[in-house]
């Protein structure tokens, strides 16, 4: 039984086919990498899984439920969370408030309860504060919890975004280039961090990344995308030697006569 099944989806923007006939099945607990040159359609796939826009053709199933036409907030409530390629935090809010936003979808009290501090709401709010603190300490940002998110260094912002995504308690986590803009030391830390949260939160992870060290280091299975089509699939070892992949990234060798 697969957690996520993407059944041959196609996305067209006007005349441009961004993704064509993409198929993927994710088993529970897998960590799968999605790579490809710029403009191959990787982020478009994320946007379709998370409901930002519906696919032109095909269906997406999560936990055996058809989520193809659902809105992002519904899909998040079902257990899909994501980070963004260009960081999308709330820069004017504090670090801890950014994380707390992730808990809102599970708040049961009505806003009357929130305004007039009904006991149930106070209980929920206390839980959120405690849990947000423990999440922040897990990623090592607890000391900075009062700072504005926009003022954090780049690497910290990336980790904070992952932390916020974890606050929604996802089953499936979509990471869009988490290592972009990180230095080699931060990248190594990120790799062990991803492994850690995967175990700790029992996650299934789909990862877009350009840094091959990350992809080869932690993914069990890799999909290579080029011009919206899957051109290769397999273990890191196989992918590295696949001629099609080398062609997509480096171009073909021209034989001089």
């Amino acid at each position: 039984m697969s957690l996520l099944k993407i059944d041959h989806i196609t996305k067209q923007f006007g005349g441009l086919t961004a993704v064509s006939d993409f198929y993927l099945e994710l088993e529970k607990g897998e960590l799968v990498g999605l790579i490809g040159p710029n403009g191959a359609g990787k982020t478009t796939i994320f946007n379709m899984i998370n409901g930002t826009y519906p696919p032109t053709k095909g269906k997406i199933y999560f936990d055996n439920k058809d989520i193809t036409q659902n809105k992002p907030d519904k899909i998040a409530a079902l257990g899909v969370s994501r980070t963004f390629q260009n960081i999308r935090l709330y820069p004017e809010s504090s670090v801890v408030d950014n994380v707390k936003v992730g808990y809102h979808l599970r708040v049961k009290s009505s806003f009357w309860g929130a305004v007039f501090h009904f006991p149930n709401y106070v209980k929920e709010e206390n839980y959120i504060s405690q849990d947000a603190d423990s999440l922040l300490s897990a990623i090592g940002l607890l000391k900075k919890k009062g700072e504005l998110a926009g003022g954090l260094p780049y690497g910290d912002q990336r980790r904070l975004e992952i932390c916020r995504a974890l606050a929604t308690r996802p089953k499936l986590l979509l990471l869009d280039e988490p290592a972009a803009g990180m230095n080699p030391r931060e990248t190594v830390e990120l790799m062990s961090f991803i492994q850690k949260i995967r175990r700790q939160f029992d996650l299934t992870i789909l990862l877009i990344e350009h840094d091959m060290k990350v992809i080869m280091g932690i993914c069990e299975r890799i999909l290579v995308l080029d011009y919206g089509k899957t051109i290769a699939e397999g273990t890191p070892g196989k992918i590295q030697h696949n001629p099609k992949v080398i062609e997509a990234y480096l171009g073909t060798e021209v034989s001089y006569a």
Partner: protein, 353 residues
């Protein structure tokens, strides 16, 4: 300086009691001019804080506030005016039946005025909140003008452009400042709650807010309806304070005044809305001098209506240029007051040495 919650609670209670005493003292001893001005201040505070919820915290640029205030004003006045008074007012087109005989006490009529405005907010929110940014501003502005024209034209209900005259004066400082206090506490608690964080997330980044499971439409609607309710409440205080009301009072310029207040006080800053809101109402009165004819040395200056707005727009420009986050960097809190006090006393000690 850190204060524990119990100490803060005690300080809050003391502050509220002090506030009530101050308002009572003002209501009893001040002359009618000053009490009226203080009432207008409270109305501006309620309206500014509530438009700050929509425009400042949730980041939805709405220009519908004057419309909501008009609905609140007319809905409540129609309910608490006596049948005899209505008969006197509607001398051109008689008022339609059920409204002509209804009369209920001021307080319920006032709250119903707010609720009717909230209902209007809900109904127009359904189409309006599908657009964002400048488009939302245009649509809500259109709504506000439509309301005004409807009031002008439904003569058998609203008495058209004639408005109401001789409205009984129920508004006093207890009502107005009492509700202003309630508004501030309500909205402060809302934005500090999980719902407030969701609203601020929407204003920060809609795409990621939605990806984090926040239902955009529902939360924008929440801010919009609450904003409309408080605007209706503020509007409902007007006729019974000014003793007269007509549709021209609710032109778009009224909304612009509140936008000016929240820009000067800072978007998403309640302290700013309260202080600038009051200062704005007072300065409108003080600047009246500019619109009266003057003889300056040998130069005679005619009174030009609209000069006040010129001064205010210069002030807005100055704020945008030099302090674009508003005049108040942070909210006034007990911690802030205590740290200010300790810094001040330290300075004094140095001087004595």
């Amino acid at each position: 300086m850190k204060l524990d919650n119990r100490k803060k609670q005690r300080l809050n209670i003391i502050a509220v009691v002090g506030f009530i005493l101050l308002v009572s003292w003002a209501q009893i001893t001040w002359n009618p001019f000053f009490t009226r001005l203080a009432n207008v201040c409270a109305i501006y505070v309620i309206a500014a804080v509530s438009i700050n919820l929509i425009n400042g915290y949730s980041g939805q640029f709405s220009l519908g506030h004057a419309g909501f205030m008009a609905i609140g004003a007319y809905a409540s006045a129609l309910l608490y005016m006596s049948p005899e008074l209505k008969e006197v007012n509607y001398f051109i087109t008689p008022i339609i039946w059920p409204l002509s005989v209804i009369q209920i006490p001021f307080f319920p009529a006032w709250i119903i005025g707010g609720l009717v405005a909230a209902l209007a907010g809900f109904i127009i929110g359904i189409p309006c909140l599908r657009v964002r940014g400048d488009y939302l501003a245009i649509v809500t502005y259109g709504f506000s003008e439509i309301i005004r024209f409807l009031i002008c034209n439904f003569q058998s209900i609203t008495n058209g452009p004639l408005g109401f005259k001789g409205v009984p004066q129920y508004t006093n400082l207890w009502w107005s400042w009492g509700f202003a206090l309630f508004t501030v506490i309500f909205i402060k608690r809302l934005i500090d709650s999980s719902y407030g964080r969701a609203l601020r997330a929407i204003s920060g980044d809609e795409v990621s807010a939605e990806a984090m499971g926040i239902n955009l439409f529902k939360h924008k609607m929440l801010a919009f309806v609450l904003g409309a309710f408080f605007a209706g409440i503020a509007g409902a205080l007007l006729p019974s304070l000014l003793m007269a009301i007509d549709p021209y009072y609710f032109q778009i310029i009224l909304t612009y005044q509140f936008i000016a207040i929240i820009i000067m006080g800072g978007l998403g800053n309640i302290t700013g809305s309260v202080i600038v809101g009051s200062a704005f109402a007072i300065s409108l009165e003080l600047l009246r001098v500019l619109e009266t004819p003057h003889v300056l040395f040998t130069l005679s200056i005619p009174g030009i209506p609209g000069m006040r707005m010129l001064v205010i727009s210069i002030l807005i420009l100055a704020v945008i240029l030099f302090r674009h986050r508003g005049l108040f960097g942070q909210e006034i809190s007990w911690e802030w007051l205590f740290s200010l006090f300790s810094r001040f006393s330290q300075k004094l000690r140095f001087r004595h040495k």
